[in-house]
Point group: C2
Chain length 453, copies 2
């Protein structure tokens, strides 16, 4: 019986760790709350109807079916029993010899969780279909509203956060309004939509070179996006967002607000810290040793978004897929090499570059000292994001849909599906609740007037 390796989380970190352990004489248990690995970098494309959920999500069991030393467990980890070397699930426990915690991160509203209902974030497949529903329902509501002020509020979309996800969402929203939905409505012109990107810092994409921030801003503005920087969000309500700058407060009336501003490590970071006396940073990330282990616990590793690793530059590594993948592989190799009695050098991150798309044929990329923008950057972005898709079928489906969407300016998955999937209730029709509950009325008199005009 081999050593028991338990990996928590089937994201990039956990999945690459499991795969790299393929030939090690160990037994791996991969635990996730979800049955699928989600290709997060393309999630904004599902939220904006360009791809279906299944195009970017693959069952973990399928990805690992041929690896006989891995079993996948669908379950929720709630705590750690370090003394007895056990992971506590909501409904049971699993023992480990070595533990890899790759539980990732969620949204961070910086203490204002009440904003969540009016400004959903983008982390899961359900987040994406909910955001898609809100975007499409806003256009439907605008079409049915006769009050010009209300139409304007329905057609205003505010994206909070100027990082890659915010930029990608704002660019995609602009394309939906100006291209995808053209000619589909009779009372409104989707091009009248106002898309606002709100960034608290002085420039969007702050981790990129200033030159690329400027080019991204220019590209977004050409697409019709208003890029507002130096604005702090002070309130999010169901009819709009309040932002403040040194010049004072401004209210942006909007029915569709999207939150991409903050990331908070999984609560499992806190639980692990409590169990091991490790320290967490402000974002809830566990501060790890140079070999990614938890101080004083050489058998417990934390990787990916949940890890605070600052040994290389003094700054913690960013929460991106590349870091998680390299850390997952490193920990797997460390486990295998230590078993073989070999020494292992500290983790070293090789930055392969950063990329963000802005829209059709537009992206920015930093690869080493190279700074690219426009068509070439977009091509590289597309190739890289296809390459990293683990599932061949998904790679094929994404590729075909990209080409199709590129040529036709269409989006293939613009469905409004119910928020509450009242699957068993034939009278269910929650898709319209948002409209009905919000007091959008097409009065009999309106109809009669129109008819006689």
């Amino acid at each position: 019986m081999g050593e028991q390796i338990v990996i928590i989380g089937g994201g990039f970190g956990g999945l690459y760790a499991a795969k790299r352990l393929k030939h090690a004489p160990v037994d791996v248990t991969l635990i996730d709350r979800r049955n699928h690995h989600l290709f997060q970098p393309l999630l904004y494309q599902t939220a904006t109807g360009a791809l279906s959920p299944a195009d970017i999500a693959t069952p973990l069991r399928r990805l690992l079916k041929d690896q006989r030393n891995v079993r996948v467990l669908l379950g929720e980890v709630v705590d750690f029993d370090v003394a007895n070397k056990q992971v506590i699930l909501r409904d049971g426990a699993v023992g480990y010899d070595k533990l890899v915690v790759a539980a990732g991160s969620g949204k961070n509203y910086f203490g204002n969780d009440q904003w969540m209902a009016n400004a959903p974030g983008l982390k899961t497949v359900e987040d994406a279909t909910e955001i898609r529903r809100r975007i499409l329902t806003a256009f439907e509501a605008a079409e049915r509203t006769t009050d010009p002020g209300k139409v304007r509020t329905w057609l205003t979309f505010v994206v909070i956060g100027g990082g890659p996800t915010g930029v990608e969402m704002a660019g995609a929203l602009a394309e939906i309004a100006h291209e995808t939905l053209q000619n589909e409505f009779r009372n409104i012109n989707p091009s009248d939509a106002r898309i606002v990107l709100v960034q608290s810092g002085e420039r969007i994409l702050p981790t990129y070179a200033p030159e690329l921030s400027a080019r991204a801003t220019a590209a977004l503005e050409r697409l019709g996006v208003e890029v507002l920087t130096g604005l702090r969000v002070t309130d999010v309500g169901d009819r709009g967002v309040t932002v403040s700058s040194r010049a004072g407060e401004t209210y942006l009336p909007s029915r569709t607000v999207l939150w991409t501003a903050g990331v908070q490590a999984s609560p499992l970071g806190q639980a692990l810290a409590a169990a091991t006396s490790a320290e967490v940073d402000r974002g809830g990330r566990v501060i790890v040793e140079p070999d990614l282990s938890v101080p004083g616990h050489p058998d417990i590793f934390v990787i990916g978004d949940l890890a605070h690793f600052a040994h290389q530059t003094g700054e913690p590594l960013p929460g991106v897929a590349q870091v998680a993948i390299q850390q997952g592989r490193y920990v797997a190799q460390l486990i295998a090499r230590r078993r073989a009695g070999k020494r292992v050098s500290p983790f070293f991150y090789r930055d392969r570059g950063n990329m963000a798309t802005i829209g059709r044929g537009k992206a920015v990329a930093e690869i080493g000292r190279l700074r690219l923008s426009g068509w070439l950057a977009w091509q590289i972005w597309a190739v890289v994001h296809l390459m990293y898709q683990m599932d061949v079928e998904n790679r094929m489906l994404v590729f075909i849909q990209w080409i199709w969407n590129y040529l036709t300016r269409k989006r293939s998955a613009l469905l409004i599906t119910d928020r509450d999937q009242k699957a068993t209730n034939p009278q269910a029709q929650a898709s319209l609740n948002l409209i009905t509950n919000s007091g959008v009325f097409l009065r009999v008199s309106d109809v009669r007037e129109k008819k006689s005009s």
Copy 2:
């Protein structure tokens, strides 16, 4: 200003009626609760993870964007004001000169609506993702259960209803168990799944020739499906189904029951009947005149699943896409011809044949006097179902995925997504509620035992 034509429902009947009115000097308003046309004949493939929802659903606005005399209204019709020629929506009203009611049908539990929660039916995209979730969660729960009796109950799937949908669901379930999920689990063998098709009549596919019923039964049995006929369902609980025959009652323990047994016309049929003094049949369908109009109301037409049209054979036409399409086109032509002062002959249904798939490379088809089964029937089925896809992109995506699934025996969309899409709640993890609530426990002792074995 042209004549106002209001069409209720964007299914096959309503959509084909709207499209056929393209060159008529009329203004068309198409009202639907959903923003998409659903290609119902392939819905079972979404319920069984072979296709994504967006592959079989296309926004109505996109399908009708180039037809300038049509506007699409997302809204719910609740009643009719025939005296004032108005359709009453939940939040307004729309006037009409001519009205086409194509509101379709829902599930029918024959007075036992309490069975709904334990035996969902298949009518909407949400139904399909919910059924997919239940099927996949059952295998996950079986993997985590140690009690052999409970494993068996989780691995038993009961499909109620032996019509085309029931046959297709049972066949697809068998393929999932015996092919798709092979090697994905460690504690269970998905092939151990028991799939039961329960039919009340003496044979499945009762509207087909007896010879084809027999071939379908044989094909299902080769796939490992138990075909039980002459059994009436007397109870559906959360742990199983009670069926009775002349020999007595039998209890089938199962955690996953699917309902395809009955169809009930939309409640709008009753509402229309009350408003027009028309008659409805036992299934809630409105009995129409030879020209599909409501008796005494030459300006109101009922088509598709909601219409009871029995003038041709004495028997009402079946609720299939072909009938709805032909009726939609007929009514559109009637409206256009009457405006031009021309006479119109009664509706005449041309039966182009019936087909049902059983599985990979297996189908039965009746085309005129021709009775086909096996590979050729399946090829014809596939071509016909691709041809009738209205959206070119969907046709392409379905085609590619069919070829891929055929070659690899995979299914591309095996996702468990949350039933309650708690998009804004980071702690949401409803996907496991079914397991947790049902008392499936992996006890610490179980794990320890396994570990030391």
